[in-house]
């Protein structure tokens, strides 16, 4: 009990636990565990045969945190920055350190611009985004979507209805934009046609 000196007794002794649970206590000594002490200076043990690694060629100006002294010798080359989102990303890296909320918020905003733009661009390709296959939603039918939720006290059921909103957002926005665009085109085509009719009759 917390109000007196002794610790509450455990239901099982160490010997009982050792008998019940395979491996109980094999790492009992806190000093004899792989990540103890936290820092163990042993540069020879990693397999590295360099003091500082050779530098990987930089094939495009690689964005980097302004808290780094220089571009790290090795880096990932997935998805170079492109378009508007790319410009936002480069700005976030150049202008704001990791300590600044702006750095991360601009990157998150760039992510949204990137995914929206990519969805729209995909409709001009042979492989447009497909909300059914890409969300894996079909597994609701094949993997007991209903039974996995019905009658279960799952805390995540409260917010799962928000998922479709987040998923469908880009398509809804895209639909609205496409509709507005179409209307404008139709209007200007209509106006053009009306004008040409006027010219013919005059």
């Amino acid at each position: 009990m917390a109000y007196t000196a002794e610790k509450p007794a455990l239901a099982e002794t160490s010997d009982q636990l050792r008998a019940r649970i395979p491996g109980w206590g094999v790492d009992l000594d806190p000093r004899d565990r792989p990540s103890v002490p936290r820092e163990r200076f042993d540069p020879g043990s990693s397999g590295a045969h360099w003091d500082f690694p050779e530098r990987q060629p930089e094939k495009w100006p690689r964005e980097r945190s302004n808290e780094h002294k220089f571009l790290t010798p090795v880096f990932g080359t997935s998805c170079p920055p492109k378009g508007v989102s790319g410009a936002m990303r480069k700005y976030a890296y150049k202008r704001f350190s990791e300590a600044r909320a702006a750095h991360w918020l601009i990157l998150v905003a760039a992510d949204r611009v990137d995914s929206l733009g990519s969805h729209f661009r995909s409709f001009l390709t042979l492989r447009p985004d497909n909300p059914i296959t890409e969300t894996g939603i079909r597994s609701e039918l094949t993997h007991h979507g209903l039974a996995s939720r019905m009658g279960k006290k799952r805390a995540d059921l409260a917010h799962q209805p928000l998922d479709p909103v987040i998923i469908a957002g880009p398509w809804v926005l895209g639909g609205v934009a496409a509709y507005a665009g179409l209307k404008r085109v139709r209007k200007s085509v209509g106006r053009g046609a009306a004008q040409s009719r006027v010219t013919i009759t005059s």
């Binding site: 491996g23 009992l28 820092e39 045969h49 990932g76 996995s148």
Partner: protein
């Protein structure tokens, strides 16, 4: 090659990509034979990690066969069967020299606050990951290890992240004999943390979640005492009640940024990305331990601030310990434990999904359908 590709929040598909080339003399190209989806991948999938670009291939848990090596690689050759830790690390920087492989300073230009991770956004270095047929593995002489003959592939793939992370989480708790340990989260990481707590001599191991089927696994696989937080008005009070009002000696947060249990926190963090994560489980951990306790955090949080109850942590004199797991540092000991039968990582695998159906795999794991605990990904060619 076929590769999983991110298309925006909750949307992924399989695309044909070029096989990655060698970009550095110590690179290897590995043909993936088995991969997995991690709880961390869900944070990416839900669009929570800044600088996750459309076209990026996820996947930081994988094993495979060496296809090609760069000119300076000495320890691996074509044809070797390897397991690759989820950390990309150089082995020689200030941090690697001290065994902090998850905090390497030479592999992530995008951020100094986090090391390199395969397939984990540009915030973690912009490396394409292993949910693909091939993957570039930097520092081939440092990260990968040849899979021992006696080890099963499914055990090997779980030893690249989930199992060592749970084990590391238990170490961060500084458990001593007889400690009462409470683990938040009965996902793969929480299950391994609970199991590992016993190895370190815990006297009582409690696991909290809201998914009954996972709590069932915590009872059978991790021999734990379990509580479903939805059955209690206030889980913190319940934790006090069952510990004679002292509180646990150690808590482990194996939930991270998408914790449930508080609608506002969850929606602000996980859905609208207004904070770096929903720290519900972390706050419960802080409040349910005793004064002077240790809280170990292996659940992942984004780089944006989160509403953590720091005052309680200060006033209770808590020790907060946390990190990404330096996987390779755990391997020699974990290999022994697996060989001795103390740990059977593959016991938690529930689904084996072909790479071409990975979109369904993500949905099943994310929406917790079909009793899913750990889904493996198997490329067609494997």
């Amino acid at each position: 090659m076929q590769a999983m590709v991110y298309r925006g929040p909750y949307k992924i598909r399989v695309e044909n990509k070029d096989i990655p080339p060698i970009e550095h003399p110590n690179d290897a190209i590995v043909r993936v034979t088995m991969g997995a989806i991690c709880g961390s991948d869900l944070h990416l999938y839900h669009g929570m990690i800044p600088d996750t670009r459309v076209g990026h291939t996820f996947g930081h848990e994988f094993i495979g066969v060496v296809e090609e090596v760069g000119s300076s690689v000495q320890n691996l050759k074509r044809g070797d069967r390897v397991m690759v830790p989820f950390n990309v690390f150089c082995g020689s920087c200030f941090f690697c020299a001290r065994g902090l492989y998850s905090n390497c300073h030479n592999v992530n230009p995008n951020a100094t606050a986090v090391g390199g991770i395969y397939g984990y956004s540009h915030t973690c270095g912009g490396y394409d990951g292993g949910q693909a047929e091939f993957v570039r593995v930097p520092f081939a002489d440092v990260g990968p290890t040849i899979i021992p003959d006696w080890m099963d592939d499914e055990d090997a793939v779980l030893l690249t992240d989930a199992c060592p992370t749970g084990y590391f989480g238990a170490q961060l708790g500084d458990i001593v004999e007889g400690d009462v340990v409470v683990v938040f989260g009965a996902g793969p990481v929480g299950l391994f943390a609970a199991k590992s707590a016993w190895l370190m001599g815990a006297g009582r191991v409690i696991v909290i979640d809201h998914l009954e089927y996972r709590l069932e696994k915590a009872r059978t696989f991790a021999h734990a005492e379990t509580y479903n937080f939805t059955e209690y008005d206030d889980i913190v009070v319940h934790m006090k009640k069952i510990t004679d009002h002292l509180g646990a000696d150690v808590a482990i947060d194996a939930v991270g940024a998408e914790a449930d249990g508080n609608f506002l926190q969850h929606v602000a963090g996980a859905k609208f990305k207004l904070q770096g994560g929903s720290p519900v489980a972390l706050n419960w951990a802080i409040d349910s331990v005793r004064k002077g306790a240790t809280v170990s955090v292996v659940g992942a949080y984004g780089p944006i601030f989160s509403a953590v109850k720091f005052g309680d942590a200060v006033n209770k004199g808590l020790t907060l310990r946390m990190n990404q797991c330096p996987v390779k540092r755990q391997w020699p000991r974990l290999f022994e434990h697996v060989r001795n039968g103390y740990l059977k990582p593959s016991d938690i695998v529930t689904h084996r999904i072909p790479l071409e159906h990975i979109a369904e795999g993500y949905h099943i794991f994310s929406a917790k359908l079909d009793g899913c605990i750990k889904p493996l990904i198997v490329p067609n060619a494997a």
